[in-house]
């Protein structure tokens, strides 16, 4: 098939760009261990309130500046509504839903994941600055969706 010389050059540029994108992501994934939240643990959404650890949602200290936070998302709030951690803490969030699909997002921090009934999703984040962070549901879940929010206080 005849392809014009200029088009060959142009398409090669495209392919080089493609290679750069893929290489960047591969390096991030392999060397820095950056992977998207992909929780693989299942849970019965109708029995969340009886299933440990989600029968007692909240913050657990697991080490020096290391915490685990267990959240239940349900219409139209998060449980716990507020957690408080010292600055510099690495918090691993575990979250599940007892009703419909929700989102779990602390805007502009990179804490962002889907909360699917039947699954536990998780990710870790280190809070390097003090302040009160807004935690919002960012997937439509019903008539009160715009009120579904919680707080993360970093002291």
């Amino acid at each position: 098939m005849h392809v014009h010389r200029y088009e060959r050059i142009w398409l090669s540029l495209g392919l080089v760009m493609l290679a750069i994108f893929i290489a960047t992501l591969s390096v991030a994934a392999l060397s820095e261990g950056f992977v998207p939240p992909s929780g693989d643990q299942t849970i019965d959404p109708t029995k969340v309130s009886q299933t440990p650890p989600f029968d007692h949602p909240g913050l657990r200290k697991v080490g020096d500046h290391a915490y685990e936070a267990y959240y239940v998302a349900h219409i139209f709030s998060f449980d716990p509504a507020t957690i408080t951690v010292p600055v510099g803490s690495r918090v691993t969030f575990y979250v599940t839903s007892s009703d419909v699909e929700h989102g779990f997002s602390i805007p502009a921090t990179g804490v962002n994941m889907m909360v699917t009934p039947g699954w536990v999703n998780s990710l870790s984040h280190t809070f390097k600055e003090t302040g009160t962070f807004l935690l919002v549901c960012n997937e439509y879940c019903g008539l009160g969706h715009q009120t579904m929010a919680a707080k993360v206080v970093v002291q």
Binding site: L15, I22, T46
Partner: protein, 560 residues
Amino acid sequence: MTTPANPTSVALWPKGNDYDLSREMGDLLVLTHIYTATLVLGVGALFGALQGFSRANWIVMPDWFDYYRMLTVHGVLMALVFTTFFITGLLTYATYRSIPRVRSTRLNYTGYGIMLIGTLMAALTILSGNASVLYTFYAPLKASPFFYFGATLLVAGTWLVAYDIIANVVWFKKHNPGRKIPLPAFAAVCTMIMWVIATLGVTAEMLILIPWSLGLTSGVDVSLTRMLFWYFGHPLVYFWIMGAYLIWYLVVPTAFGGTVFSDALTRLAFVSLLLLSTPVGIHHEYLDPGISPGWKFFHTILTYGVVVPSFMTAFAIFASFEIAARKKGVTGFLNIVRWLPWRDPAFAGPGLGMILFIFGGFGGIVNNSYSMDVLVHNTMWVVGHFHVTVGGPVALTFIGAAYRLVPALARRRLFAPQLALASEYLWFVGMLVMSFSMHWAGLLGAPRRTSDVSYFGAAGASTWHGQMVGAALGGSLIAIGVLLFVTVATATYFTNKRAEDNPELAFARVDDEAAPVPPILDKLGTWAAVAIVLAFVAYAGPLAQQLNAHAYLAPGMRTW
């Protein structure tokens, strides 16, 4: 009678009353599809504008017609109904015009009728408040069964149109052994094959959701239905793009006396999109549980593959501009851009759309890189992105094409060409303002799909309101543009003077007719098989993962 699009098929061009009658029937059929799309766009834009006003806190939606009901109407009408009716009409036109023959339009009309019944069923269910589930209808939000039935009928109707288009191409192949498929029909059938493969996903999802909504089953596997939705949801986007590309490659050059840059490369671009549309849907689910990072990465790489047909298209479009300009003695980038017919509504729409697509492409690269996606996922950024893609290049291209198609099919003169032109520039400027505000709001973290971003005055939400006002201002301009578009199209169709010179939406000639098209490109059956294999490879693993996880079923819920 006009010259057919592909000069190689001249021998086929039938003469006589039977053909003229058949052609007229076909034109009326296409006009029915296109005009339905026009009205749907009008209604969808009205709800879009109200949404913008509501988010900017200019108005408060009443309890009997809440924000989310309105958002569902807007999303379903724009993403699923307007685009689908326009594209089924456009692909039918491309096929009928480039394969001239005496034919029956009954099957295609039946498809249209089923699409229309499905649309009315779904739309009335949403308007009555029984399906505020947004256009993604994520389970276990449970709508009335009429919503799922309606959506299924909409898809089923398109299959009859697809069958009609494929049957016409099969007829051509049978009666023209050794001849290549005319280029417009090739693009149409390629798009429809892609669509049929993609809609299998949403059909499978409906087979789960319909019995559940009727109360025959007690729960659904939520992540499975999400995966089936996005198996369909991303190719849906490429369905729109392929419709717009058909116009860019084959119609836009006629506005400045140009030609199609290359027959073979045009076919290659459509085949690439056919292959790359389906096996990429998981990039919408990067932040979902239950899908391993490995499969997410696999879909990322295939998604980036779309760089190839995109670069090819950009090259072909500019080449077609430059070749035509040079023939008229115009050289130099800026001179060529200035020389283009920006005052012709049939060019200005697609042309302005191409400019918006540059932003769309850039945003798409960000969304697909999951390290960046985590910052913008489900924020207003994403809303800005799809408005500057489907709401930019795609819708503007369709509007521009409609300004040729409606006069051609109704055999009338275009009503008030200046208003037609104004509708496109208003849309363009409005979309720039609106999508810029949305992207910015997204970077500041404002979530999408909420009626209000104030969060009771929380500090973290204080920066979001200003962008919502910008979006509402841009949205107002777009809504005025749509109002003008619907007015011009309606006035052209129903009231304006008959055109004596038989206006026509013709397809451009191919520049390099001498250059042979590799026969392999025309083997659409083979490409369809490759597309199915790719879809299987990309989804068999993730689906097996979902099914092996023995996920619990979630009971349905009505939370609105």
